[in-house]
């Protein structure tokens, strides 16, 4: 039985708060730097910004032990399957921060070699803008993620096949605003 089978009452409500508090304060990122943004990510781990204050100083070398993937840098078409594999190897619950404009939308690399937005491959929770984002921006993104963990459900993204019925999909905005990660497959970039 997973946590998603729990019925809600006062006790489980408090338990949920506790679980969320614990998750929020030990988000361990995966060691996964792709480009220049990774330098800023490293400086976030260094003494000046010191994310061990937030309980996430351990950049895990194994995706099995990581909760958070910070996609730091542009993702090339060749790197995309690798990125997806690292994401798939991470244990639930897991989150993704798309750091920098290249990871978020391709940025100024609007060409055939770069994936135009990492949300085509993995579901992204928080986007950090900037080229590269300063460590402060990444910290802001991490705090946004904390807020998202705090206010969200403890079970992550119940899929249609798990909950039994098709959840009502929100209406799509403009065509390029892809919010639905399920609709995309690896290896067939658009």
């Amino acid at each position: 039985m997973g946590l998603e089978d729990l019925q809600h009452n006062f006790l489980t409500g408090r338990l949920e708060d506790l679980v969320k508090w614990a998750r929020r304060n030990s988000v361990w990122p995966a060691t996964f730097g792709l480009a220049c943004c990774a330098i800023e990510m490293m400086s976030l781990g260094a003494a000046d910004f010191d994310i061990s204050r937030l309980g996430m100083e351990v950049f895990r070398a194994s995706p099995r032990q990581a909760d958070l993937m910070i996609v730091a840098g542009r993702v090339s078409q060749k790197m995309a399957p690798v990125l997806r594999q690292v994401y798939d190897q991470m244990m639930e619950p897991k989150w993704v921060i798309s750091m920098g404009v290249c990871a978020s939308t391709g940025g100024m690399f609007n060409n055939y070699a770069i994936v135009q937005g990492v949300d085509q491959i993995v579901p992204v929770d928080v986007y950090a803008p900037g080229c590269p984002p300063s460590p402060e921006t990444l910290l802001h993104a991490i705090l946004t993620l904390h807020e998202k963990i705090r206010s969200g459900e403890i079970t992550r993204r119940p899929r249609a096949e798990q909950s039994g019925s098709e959840p009502a999909r929100p209406e799509r905005p403009a065509g390029w605003l892809l919010e639905d990660p399920d609709a995309l497959r690896v290896g067939t970039p658009r």
Binding site: T105, G117, D119, Y127, T137, L177
Partner: protein, 261 residues
Amino acid sequence: MALGFLGGFKLTFEHLGRRRVTRQYPDEKRPKQPRQHGRHVLNRYEDGMEKCIGCELCAGVCPADCIYVRGLDNPPDHPVSPGERYGYIYEINYLRCIHCDLCVEACPTEAITESKLFEFSFTNRADAIYTRDELLVGDDGRPQRLPWEDWRPGDDLLTSGWMRATSPSGAAAYEGEVQWSGELGYGVRAPEGGQSGRRDDVATGTKSLREVMEAHLVPEDIPIEHLGLRGRLARAKESARKKRDKLVSSRRRRTEARVGR
């Protein structure tokens, strides 16, 4: 043997006595560079008219194609900008913008400049597109403080003008002189200087930043005038000045309190 074991801790013990460098970010921020490139602002004139004339030069020059502008003819009875047209759609996608400031260089009316704000993040892509209403400055010339951004005092200062490193033509004779017009809400910006020595570091905020950084520089990066006897003299002068300033300000506060009573 025992000494060798302790010798490994030399670095640790050295660092025990040093000043702590960690900034407690959400509570405390590093000072920003005086010409940091951050979120854009769309400026106004003193009479409230928008500076943007909808010429789309910024959109044309943008290497990341993050700006979308549409110009429209000014309505004759209530014009929005002094020019023939105005930008009635102005959108910047911050998940594409690389803050290169080429739009600021291209703008013929200084309508678009960059503030020093760099702390913002989004949870979906649609939120990252800033519209004209969000980018426009308020009536006082200061950028709007949008709720999802992390503004601190000083971040919105001197954002409505932007000055090139030397002069617009690159002539060294103009270095350190204000080339741009006065800014709404801020007056005229202090000139920055480079090689010529004609500079006002206090007004431009450059010097304070350098002081913050110097304590953590490697020795060969510290300027020569801050080393040795000269450096000691400079530091003594500096601390005397600080003490004097402190004394003067406390005296003034006391006088003010007395006057207030």
